[in-house]
Assembly symmetry: C2
Homo-oligomer: 324 residues x 2
Amino acid sequence: MNDSSYFIAVDWGTSRLRAFLCRIREDGSLKLVTRSAGLGVSKSPLSFEDTLMQSIAPWEFEYGKLPILMSGQIGSSIGWKETPYLPCPISPQKLAKSCINFTCNGYEISIVPGLSCQLENDNYDCMRGEELQILGWLQLDPANRVGRHLLCLPGTHTKWVLVEDGKIKLFKTALTGELFDLIVNHSVLIQSKGPEFNLAAFDQEAFDKGAAFTLKSEQGSFMHGLFSVRSKQLFGQLSPEEATSYLSGLLIGSDIRAAVNATEWCLGSVDLVSIIGAPHLSRSFARVLASQNIKSDICKVTATTLLGFNSLYQSFLGLSEKSA
Amino acid sequence: MNDSSYFIAVDWGTSRLRAFLCRIREDGSLKLVTRSAGLGVSKSPLSFEDTLMQSIAPWEFEYGKLPILMSGQIGSSIGWKETPYLPCPISPQKLAKSCINFTCNGYEISIVPGLSCQLENDNYDCMRGEELQILGWLQLDPANRVGRHLLCLPGTHTKWVLVEDGKIKLFKTALTGELFDLIVNHSVLIQSKGPEFNLAAFDQEAFDKGAAFTLKSEQGSFMHGLFSVRSKQLFGQLSPEEATSYLSGLLIGSDIRAAVNATEWCLGSVDLVSIIGAPHLSRSFARVLASQNIKSDICKVTATTLLGFNSLYQSFLGLSEKSA
């Protein structure tokens, strides 16, 4: 066993920490050995050090103190160490050079920087964590590193990312997932609150109605559309059980409508949209895109993320060889 | 003093109860004698009866058991007695006939029904409480009872109301105020949370930036716009203190953009929009309307509401005279 054939990848966002113990095979490919989970940057009552150690401690006895690569909000102003936002256009291969490296409890830790871009309207956008998924997606197929591609990364915040010849050119964030959580948990629109959105209760027909409603409605009438979640229940067009799926459709429909109308890219000139996200969300986005005659391709989110970490780790090894 | 020259008007919504002790002058006009406040339908830990009695008890010794007229969510499925939604188009003069009347603790109580309308897209809309303000607005000026008028009632939910020849033809609800509260209190967009939105900290320039942002942005990109509340803070274009006012501008801008594009009315053919709401909200709506070259007129909300209650009370007296 080579010392450098194992490392730990940590995707540490606002709500969740996901740690992956990875092994690099002889052929350079990555094998996920095991994984663990912990609390996110804004959720853990412990220090960042203790939260991390709790998640990876069981691995130390067998594997020793492996190098740790981390991405996500852990590198933000509310995180452990603040890393910069690197401006786009950028090749995500360049992330390795701008990591913040430090030692903690005998572990060599690197935190990946975020990315920023300047859009029309004098507006900026930013991401932390998704850059690793994009880096991974670039490794999926050599064709991904040539030409123009649009990626959609649904989650708490949807990221729409324009990639050109292997570089991240620009991206746009939509509040879709966060708005869904806010409305489900705190609004008068949804009366019967479950502890979490229940996937088993997902109603495809209600979802489709919601998406169609936003896609067809007048310009700018999103907040009128939201009220239909309540009015359709009051007038018997929607059961309380269907309301949550309908809301999901409204929001994803609105997100996709914006992507269709975005002037930063022309969706008509893009062959297909690559979706990287949780399976149920990815399916919902693909379905609404299809309703607008836009093809899409769903990538496996964990595998793609780990491909990104592997690529980053290989860059690290290259950097340390150069400096040796 | 005539027995019927005093009554109590109660505007009882989800969050607040407002009770008004009113006197009808010789000339038929209304004088507000005094007022009190209590908890809303979804807030009070007491029974509806006890909550109401607590608010009006101090008046009983001097005035006896006056007739009580109530409007708002108190007549909804989560209220005291459920009143119907009367379908539009309707003259709000007809509300009196469909009130639910009952006796409680020796008081004669009437709860006003709500209104509903069917819109394009097979969609319904509904209101409870605002119908009294519209009824009051119709009394403000005989000219209001002739021709075509657009009313804007900002609040937790904005109501845009089309009135034709004294009848409420249709209306549309936008979630503007509720979304503002949700995002200010529960989202990652606003980091520094005060206990309540602080009017003294309102920043006009940030508000204007927010409104301009939504009014100018691409079709459907509302949820991208919301993320700019955060990105503009991260990139130094907005201080945390300005963020709340900017958000208010984004939301009101979006609400007005929808009204400008609504196909149910043609804003170009409307002389002016009459705004009935809290003063600071009314000013914000008027300002954004003006930026779109749309004239508006701000009505005093309590005076207008009480004019509505007075008109309703006069109808009641008329009805009881007829039946006598």
